[in-house]
Symmetry: C2
Subunit: 376 residues, 2 copies
């Protein structure tokens, strides 16, 4: 029994998935990405796989150690276990046989599998030779983009935990602490508040805020530093994303100007995040305000991305989607969840960005992360 979501929700997802597979002419999916497995069955873990047939059968393969645990958590029709990698391959072959699939198309996760994993899953002892391989990324992305009501509930909780983590991280700031210690304060508070984990934290300070991916280092905070903090808790399998800027001492007039521009861009973009809007329009709105404030040359990074079980998932703006193996998204539907504000303003001496997790509403957006936007 899944702890948070009813069986009927998972069953309906499998029905929707099978329908999408028929549209795409894929006869079976072979999934190993934990978030995709979780979405369809209620459990997603390392060293396991899920196969979905277009007639709605669900098969799971897991390490022999995990059979009972998976049986308690997941919904499926068939389960198989294995002792090692050879066993995993045979287990896949057994399900191809059980499903009666000796030709046709198997969908694999091209945006997740490394070439070596792809080789293992399509090993001649696993996959029947006549079965062709195609990418199933888009099938899963489309299913997962619009959230069920229960998913929105779970993401609200993840949003609150992000706020708690941000508060702890910001409150801890003082001269002499390292970026890593600030990250630790935020992460610790998130685990205390109910996160079962988190995606990588970014904490960059002073001149390091100018880089695109400020993974924490042992750089110590100095007076006059600005600090970028970007946190991503996982709560009941769902993620949220928040980024804020804090200061040790006072920000410069230039930093305040850029900050105000970014905040205006963020607010304006959030305010138009309603059903029917396109990702391009959101991107252009965010960029537009920053551009008009004179920082057009200082923008870097995709400004918006989807969020849910993964902290970065579909939809992505079309330009970025292409390079990440995803398709350009259609106009957004109510209950799509976005992290808005992922690009930044970066100068040679400092950088800043703000990010919030937002539910696309029918008439109004709903913001899940609510820690203060004040530059403190």
């Amino acid at each position: 029994m899944n702890l948070n979501i009813e069986e009927s929700v998972f069953k309906q997802r499998v029905v929707n998935c099978a329908r999408a597979m028929k549209r795409e002419d894929q006869d079976v999916l072979l999934l190993t990405k934990p978030s995709n497995m979780y979405y369809l069955t209620g459990d997603g873990r390392l060293c396991a796989f899920v196969m979905i047939s277009s007639d709605q059968q669900v098969a799971i393969g897991v390490p022999q150690t995990d059979v009972e645990d998976v049986t308690d958590l997941a919904y499926f029709d068939h389960i198989n276990s294995f002792e090692n990698e050879v066993g995993m391959i045979h287990s896949i072959a057994a399900f191809f046989k059980q499903f009666g699939i000796s030709r046709g198309v198997v969908g694999l996760e091209h945006t997740f599998l490394t070439s070596s994993m792809m080789k293992m899953l399509t090993h001649p002892h696993a996959k029947p030779e006549a079965v062709k391989v195609e990418d199933c990324t888009d099938i899963l992305s489309k299913l997962r983009t619009v959230k069920d009501p229960i998913e929105i509930q779970l993401m609200k909780k993840a949003g609150r935990v992000a706020d708690i983590g941000m508060e702890a991280a910001v409150d801890s700031i003082k001269v002499g602490l390292t970026e890593s210690q600030i990250a630790g304060e935020g992460e610790y508070a998130m685990r205390q508040a109910g996160a079962e984990g988190f995606w990588r934290s970014y904490v960059a300070s002073g001149i390091r805020t100018r880089i695109a991916h400020g993974i924490p280092t042992n750089r110590k905070l100095k007076k006059g530093d600005i600090i970028l903090i970007d946190l991503h808790p996982i709560v009941n399998n769902y993620s949220s994303d928040i980024c804020r800027i804090a200061c040790v001492g006072k920000p410069t007039a230039e930093q305040i100007k850029a900050y105000d521009a970014y905040l205006e861009a963020l607010r304006k973009t959030i305010s138009i995040s309603v059903a029917g809007i396109g990702m391009v329009e959101l991107e252009e709105t965010l960029h537009g305000v920053i551009h008009n404030a004179g920082y057009g040359e200082n923008i870097f990074g995709p400004p918006i991305h989807g969020i849910g079980i993964n902290f970065e998932e579909a939809p992505l703006p079309p330009g970025h989607a292409f390079f990440h193996g995803e398709k350009a998204p259609p106009p957004l539907v109510e209950n799509t969840t976005l992290a808005i504000g992922n690009c930044g303003i970066y100068t040679k001496q400092w950088g800043l960005r703000l990010e919030d997790t937002v539910v696309v509403g029918k008439k109004k957006p709903f913001v899940l992360t609510n820690y203060s936007h004040a530059l403190i």
Copy 2:
């Protein structure tokens, strides 16, 4: 200037890499795995790439935001920057041209790149059409398996930080805390002690210890639980790996028996970790003791793996190496670093394992993780 390792060390690595490329008939490497980039240049980060030519030229491509930061940290001959994914592709093409490579072979990281990333890096606008793609995993694995003296120094520090994290996690244990909170205590202590980050933590308790990958949940500790804690700090870019078992209350006689067998297996395997030994012999030694104690049917998982910049890297036991896209390793050389004890004894009701980070010595092994092995 790299903070911990001299320029001459990186230069020598590039020389060794170029020599290996010639042996393997690879004319240029195109790397995006941060650990491989770090190993050869002194910097490895997301959204960047490194190209190494067989005549020892080093080129780096980075986001435009990161040029100065990378210039401060890395050693290279050429640097290029880009604004987005299209720019990254053009940047790769520019280096192919600069190196004068219009045919021959480019080595790519098949054990790291997803199919969609592979497609992007080999896009016709990036890679000259006549240049063939081969896997360069083994070249980098061979270079990185045996550690330089400075790497051993850095890993000693990572070992001490793992001990500190384990102590904090074990000391925090009490009825009612969640697995996630225990993980948080260990992670917090590691960041306080100098870790700039960590790989995923495992904390499993009670019946959840029976599964192979016990990622923390919000399960609360109960009296009588055993708790598996597995931590992996990153300190100055180098990792260590420690796993211990603790109890809330008293372990059962059966648990003590299995624990003692595992500890004996671990100690015996560590004791023979000297130059000239094979991974198979280490694996058989560890399995042998567990088997003789009557738990042969309860073993799951690769018992040993290499460790260094990544917490799991080459060498792997031959059977596992094959499925992970790595080659079977030759007899071990002095200063190879291993995490020993990665497999466990798993029953239907509980599981346990112990793990330490070990330097293969000329005549004696040197253990980097030294937190008590007592079952407490």
